[in-house]
């Protein structure tokens, strides 16, 4: 069988699409965070670091508390804390937001490795027992639907949470007063300020929310998809989420479509045993897709007008 027909066969199996959705959600959560942060005018490339921090603390908390739900909350708090650093540096001190983001990513990578060694004296954390993982949840009745049931309704609980968040973020951004204000702050902070909106409060809130979502993704990765922490286990997903956000033109559903495409790349790689192509080649797929996408398949997209520009009250 040729490689092409092997891939075509793979594409019609429900289990592949089940994996695609799970992989996409792992990207969607930080991407949603990025959308919120950048819509408020703060460039956030630190999702990778916030996610990694979340993953680490999820495992630590899970081993200590024996409760995946509490561990998830701890992971979100850890992501939120990293985001708070980014917020203070870029909003309060008006530093370059790209540099701050890179610093946080490097810091997170170093911090987690250091703490793993410090706490456990080894390179990885070992295995949390299966009972303490974020559970899969099959939705009764709906899971019986052929094909669709397996793809959508036999998933980890975080997948459902993420899909609800997807709709929620969209509704908040584009249908509510809060969303209007977030977007106003990201487009023209002076205009928002003269209209009596607190630019700083909105930006802090948005950046911290992006940290919570990235932390949640980290928890899903460490105690949902896998059951361990290994250094650098996010493997660039925060950056791919960034690409998905841009691909999706800073909209939640646009980002989701991008996440599905990248998720497809990952899922195909995960099935490399049944495709006769070098797995190394396949492992490049998600990243290759990212490059192609960024190089202009989507065409020029316009970020929020004040994205990345610190706001100084009273300036023009």
């Amino acid at each position: 069988m040729s490689v092409v027909s092997e891939i075509l066969h793979l594409l019609v199996t429900a289990s592949l699409w089940n994996q695609v959705l799970a992989a996409a959600v792992l990207l969607l959560l930080p991407a949603l965070g990025g959308v919120i942060s950048e819509r408020s005018g703060v460039v956030n490339i630190a999702m990778e670091g916030m996610m990694l921090t979340g993953a680490f603390f999820a495992v630590v908390a899970d081993l200590g508390l024996h409760n995946p739900w509490l561990a998830t909350l701890v992971a979100m708090a850890a992501g939120g804390l990293m985001a708070l650093i980014h917020a203070v540096v870029s909003i309060r001190f008006r530093a370059d937001q790209i540099v701050s983001g890179i610093a946080i990513n490097i810091f997170a990578a170093g911090l987690t490795v250091f703490l793993v060694n410090r706490i456990y004296g080894i390179q990885d954390v070992g295995h949390a027992s299966y009972s303490e993982l974020l559970p899969s949840l099959n939705i009764p009745v709906l899971e019986q639907i052929p094909f669709i049931g397996h793809v959508f309704f036999q998933q980890n609980v975080i997948v459902y949470v993420a899909l609800v968040l997807l709709v929620l973020v969209h509704v908040v951004l584009f249908r509510t007063r809060l969303g209007l204000r977030i977007r106003a702050v990201g487009e023209h902070p002076q205009a928002a300020d003269t209209a009596g909106i607190n630019v700083y409060a909105i930006r802090y809130g948005a950046v911290i929310t992006s940290g919570l979502l990235s932390g949640l993704a980290g928890a899903f990765l460490a105690i949902g998809v896998s059951n361990t922490f290994v250094p650098n286990m996010t493997d660039g997903r925060g950056y791919i989420a960034l690409a998905a956000m841009i691909f999706g033109k800073w909209t939640p559903f646009g980002a989701f479509v991008a996440c599905l495409i990248f998720g497809l790349g990952e899922a195909i790689y995960a099935n490399n045993s049944i495709i006769h192509v070098s797995p190394y080649l396949l492992s490049m797929l998600p990243y290759l897709l990212t490059l192609i996408v960024l190089a202009g398949v989507v065409g020029r997209s316009n970020p929020p007008a004040a994205d990345g520009i610190p706001y100084v009250a009273g300036s023009e």
Binding site: T176, A184, E187, D193, A195
Partner: protein
């Protein structure tokens, strides 16, 4: 005080505000009566905007006191000002281009339903209500970016009214408007006064001030130097108070002595940035020693025309001849080498590198010439310095040093850098686009004099300006452009009414 004396809507007493190195307001007293249109005039940097920013709470005063409707008030920020019924229409609009009119107007005071959902229907009703009350028609669902500047400004006014303002501050509101839009704005302001509003109108355009205001306060270098009643004053008196010396408002020039035709444009066509035809067959001739003015409402192809002639935009058809050389396809560098100098309309974007020094800006475009560079590679710093010192003196560029970044100079002095650089290249043709836009009266007077002097030395000058007054006072002939075509070429003394008619597509061309 007699019982009939009108009440004061705003009274500012002894306002002092110092910024590092400059006292922007020095014990300023400023009083506006209820229900009047009060003009606040002065040159750039006179302290008008600072005074109004104090009133609107954007800037905190060092000393002084503010009374609104006779009561002392504390204004700590725009929210306080809005609460006291003060609204401000900023020179640079506080509008979000990607939002709708409704969203822009409502922002900060949005109507909501349920748990915070933005209520589009209520927003629409609110705007319809404001439109009914003040006669300011607006489509609440239009995207702001799609509206012409005049309507954007109207949205700003509606936004201020929606917040319940009784005192409206308008900072240089006509700077961005076409003559027609300005006329409409004045109508709107008169109607607003009839409904009991008070208006403070900041401007440095004297004719407008005379047309619209009831009383005038003149500021110079942080001080109030004059209180005038509009119907008892004239342009000359206001200008003298503003500048502190008698100013020549009319350009003093002798009749032109045109030489042979040196620049010829034949059936030129070009597209705008959006790819639609902007020039639809433009033809004219330019003689040595004459100024040809292009008059027209902005956006009728003037910008595209000068860009094509300067080599920064491609022509899609037609020819441009300099002498008998075809320069149609020349780029900016080769046009310059051929003897065409260019004062671009976007001073800060296209005319200068703001972070460069005055000296470096003065050789921009000529940095490769043997005078300033050895083998096009190494700059001759001494020669550049001498050159810069000479031009700074000759063109009266007010700068602390030639090493100062252009960014730190006033608009007028920035413009003088460009004028100096372009004129000093001894061009055969000078393209001057909006040469005095946003420049104060003193600098305008200077630049006008230099343009006329340049003409008298035999340069062929093409002048494009949105200010009809400027075109009429400088030009020897006037070409009127409308929708990408020259509709008529008029003598330099053509009456304003006739030009106005031609500019808006009316009237008939001269045979």
């Amino acid at each position: 005080m007699s019982a009939t004396a009108p009440a004061n809507a705003v009274e500012m007493r002894g306002i002092t505000k110092a910024f590092p190195g400059v006292v922007a307001n020095n014990k300023v007293d400023f009083t506006v009566r209820a229900g009047e249109i009060h003009a606040l005039v002065g040159e750039n940097g006179a302290g008008k905007t600072t005074l109004m920013n104090v009133l609107y709470g954007l800037v905190h005063m060092d000393e002084g006191e503010i009374l609104i409707d006779g009561k002392p008030v504390h204004i700590g920020g725009p929210r306080d000002a809005i609460g006291k019924g003060i609204g401000m229409v900023h020179q640079h609009f506080m509008l979000i281009p990607v939002f709708t009119v409704g969203e822009n107007v409502m922002l900060g005071r949005e109507p909501v339903t349920g748990p915070g959902f933005y209520n589009r229907v209520r927003a629409r009703e609110e705007i319809a209500e404001l439109t009914r009350k003040y006669g300011l028609a607006l489509d609440p669902d239009a995207r702001m970016a799609d509206l012409p500047v005049g309507l954007q400004q109207r949205a700003e006014i509606v936004k201020v009214l929606y917040r319940g303002a009784n005192i409206l501050i308008l900072d240089e509101p006509t700077g961005v408007l076409t003559p027609q839009e300005s006329k409409e704005l004045f109508g709107v302001l008169r109607d607003l006064v009839k409904t009991g509003k008070t208006i403070i109108f900041i401007s440095h355009k004297l004719r407008e001030v005379l047309e619209i205001s009831d009383r005038i306060t003149v500021m110079r270098r942080g001080n109030v130097v004059g209180h005038l009643v509009t119907k008892d004053t004239n342009e000359q008196e206001i200008a003298t108070q503003m500048v502190g010396r008698a100013v020549l408002l009319r350009v003093d020039k002798k009749p032109a002595k045109p030489g042979p035709v040196t620049f010829k444009v034949e059936d030129l066509t070009a597209s705008s940035d959006r790819g639609v035809p902007a020039l639809k067959g433009v033809s004219f001739e330019l003689r040595q020693g004459e100024i040809l003015g292009i008059a027209g409402v902005e956006g009728n192809g003037q910008s595209e025309l000068v860009e094509v002639l300067a080599g920064t935009r491609r022509a899609t058809g037609g020819r441009v001849l300099l002498g008998d050389k075809n320069v149609t396809t020349f780029d900016a560098r080769t046009e310059r080498d051929a003897g065409i100098a260019f004062i671009p309309e976007d001073r800060r974007g296209a005319g200068l590198v703001l972070s460069y020094s005055v000296a470096d800006n003065l050789i921009l475009g000529r940095q490769r010439t043997p005078a300033f560079a050895w083998r096009e590679l190494v700059l001759r710093l001494v020669a550049i310095r001498d050159w810069a010192r000479r031009l700074v003196k000759e063109f009266d560029i007010r700068t602390p040093s030639i090493e100062t970044a252009a960014r730190n100079l006033s608009g007028g002095n920035q413009q003088k850098i460009i004028v100096a650089r372009e004129m000093a290249s001894r061009p055969r043709v000078l393209l001057a686009a909006q040469p005095t836009r946003g420049v104060d009266i003193g600098a305008i007077e200077f630049i006008h004099r230099r343009i006329v002097a340049e003409r008298d030395e035999g340069t062929a000058i093409l002048l494009v300006s949105a200010e009809l007054d400027e075109v009429r006072s400088l030009s020897d002939r006037i070409a009127v452009i409308y929708e990408g075509k020259i509709v008529s070429i008029e003598p330099g003394d053509a009456p304003e009414e006739r030009l106005g008619l031609l500019m808006t597509g009316g009237g008939s061309a001269r045979g």
